[in-house]
Symmetry: D3
Amino acid sequence: MTSDAYQRGKAKAEATNPGIEETLRDRYDDLLPGFSKTMMEVPFGHYYTRGVLDDKTRYLTTVAALTALGGQTAPQLKVHIRNALRSGATKYEVAEVINQMALYGGFPAMINALNAAIEVFEAEETSDD
Amino acid sequence: MTSDAYQRGKAKAEATNPGIEETLRDRYDDLLPGFSKTMMEVPFGHYYTRGVLDDKTRYLTTVAALTALGGQTAPQLKVHIRNALRSGATKYEVAEVINQMALYGGFPAMINALNAAIEVFEAEETSDD
Amino acid sequence: MTSDAYQRGKAKAEATNPGIEETLRDRYDDLLPGFSKTMMEVPFGHYYTRGVLDDKTRYLTTVAALTALGGQTAPQLKVHIRNALRSGATKYEVAEVINQMALYGGFPAMINALNAAIEVFEAEETSDD
Amino acid sequence: MTSDAYQRGKAKAEATNPGIEETLRDRYDDLLPGFSKTMMEVPFGHYYTRGVLDDKTRYLTTVAALTALGGQTAPQLKVHIRNALRSGATKYEVAEVINQMALYGGFPAMINALNAAIEVFEAEETSDD
Amino acid sequence: MTSDAYQRGKAKAEATNPGIEETLRDRYDDLLPGFSKTMMEVPFGHYYTRGVLDDKTRYLTTVAALTALGGQTAPQLKVHIRNALRSGATKYEVAEVINQMALYGGFPAMINALNAAIEVFEAEETSDD
Amino acid sequence: MTSDAYQRGKAKAEATNPGIEETLRDRYDDLLPGFSKTMMEVPFGHYYTRGVLDDKTRYLTTVAALTALGGQTAPQLKVHIRNALRSGATKYEVAEVINQMALYGGFPAMINALNAAIEVFEAEETSDD
């Protein structure tokens, strides 16, 4: 029996990342039983599907946080930059959010995140062709 | 002679915080000559007035960053929560942004920020009477 | 209908903090519908009840993390120090874990956490009388 | 003349990392005279040999801290994961400690540390053959 | 028998904080045997007495680090601001170092540290009368 | 019309990094109009040219901060280590500042920064030939 949070989260996660639960399961569940299910249920089921905020705002606030937190989060930052673009944010809006983080996470964190964003923008443009 | 960035920043800062430059000057400029002017020119003139993002989104991304960075920023977090409310965000949207930061800054940072937000909401409601 | 994670987490949370869900509900659920339930379900249901580690080790690793992260987490640090003691850790073991964090979170973070721990130890001793 | 802390620390450090003082000396002592000796004396002599905690708990709390602190510590995280395994922790216990850090250092920090752990587990398994 | 590092560190620590080892011993050594001695030996004996840098530069770099790390370190930040002043730094130099940290630790961390510094400057001026 | 801060900052930035504004403009200004000019005006014009501190002290405090902040800042750390050397700091002084950060940012952050510094020292020595 699966919970409502799992159902909601799974639908949300698979919509943007088809096959994500299976990928996580293959990589992590032997080590941490139930890990892939928890990832559907917790970040997606309990957080990303709460409503109140539209997806674009959610992803932009996530980009803000990961930029301000600095270098630990480069792979996840790129995922959420991509999510922001696919939720209707322009690359100018994403860059603007990152730029402003100079005031909170410092200039090095901002520049590093901007470089990560440029990689995503270039990859997205190439993949559109 | 004052720069364009100063003019823009000063107008923006004074619109939400009347008298802010003078307050900063009285407190800090003896120690750090030009500090109050730099505060008008840099955060407000070079960042908060860049456009591309509306004020509400700007302040919500700032609330996200300050929550994720944890406890160092409580006084500034409250300022930006207030700014977000005055730019049209509801208290539910502010709470939602903070809540989501559990995933990035951890649960303790989220709870502490939520408590700071509740203090702001209560003060704002009282001051509306 | 409640999920298994909720049931597990609720039982765990209430065992050490009787009335916790109701306290959280009264304080946060108007602002963030479902918040108190998520707190039962996520930290307690999906993490603290996973097994593999005994409670004492879980709480000591949490004390380690909150010490290393520095000042944002004093209230939560105290909660987990108390949990560690109640799971069978001695105050010497708790102090030792904090002490070692000098190497990872720095000496100021360590001293501040040690001071928080001493407050907890003193309160616990008083309440035992 | 060497101090007691140096003697204790040196013995501890060489037991798990034979030749470590010489390696550190060759790399760092020209630049920072006495660096390798301080590394024996301080982390190992003043911290890792204090007793009260068994080695397994010490290394698991270190893994917790380095995970929560995020990306700056990947090389050191791997060293301490290896130390935890060699002190009797199973890979499941290590993974569990890391997993729980989602609540304190955030999900990106947790996932990145889990990926580092998997690299260590795979290298250890290969080296056992 | 005490080590050279202890002797050096003790002399350095007592020069600026008479009675510091005894204060630390009374507060912490029951809980953590040897803590006060380690504090003489490690930060003071292995770090603050290494030479190469003059005291003023050492303390200013410490003020820089504690500012950039944010709020966890307010009590220690004040200690090191005081140390910097007593090593010949002017209050303008201390303020300048803190001010520059806006670029690395963010504006909120900078402002909070500046407010801590002003408290120290005022207390020092009063105590000079 | 350009501001005084821009003029001062531009002169300072170009003195150590000839062509820097143009490099930044080509890479970032399409995405963030005015970015390269802000970089001249803000970090260099409003901070690095304020006087009170000599350049060597400024760069050493920056090295301290970036070390203590950990891994996010490796590329910027290297830039400022190079700036410190070119402002008259010896490699021993730079190493000493980094070494001391073990006490504030932890041993892993210190070691990682020391390794970054060694790369810079080796590159500088090679380029002197």
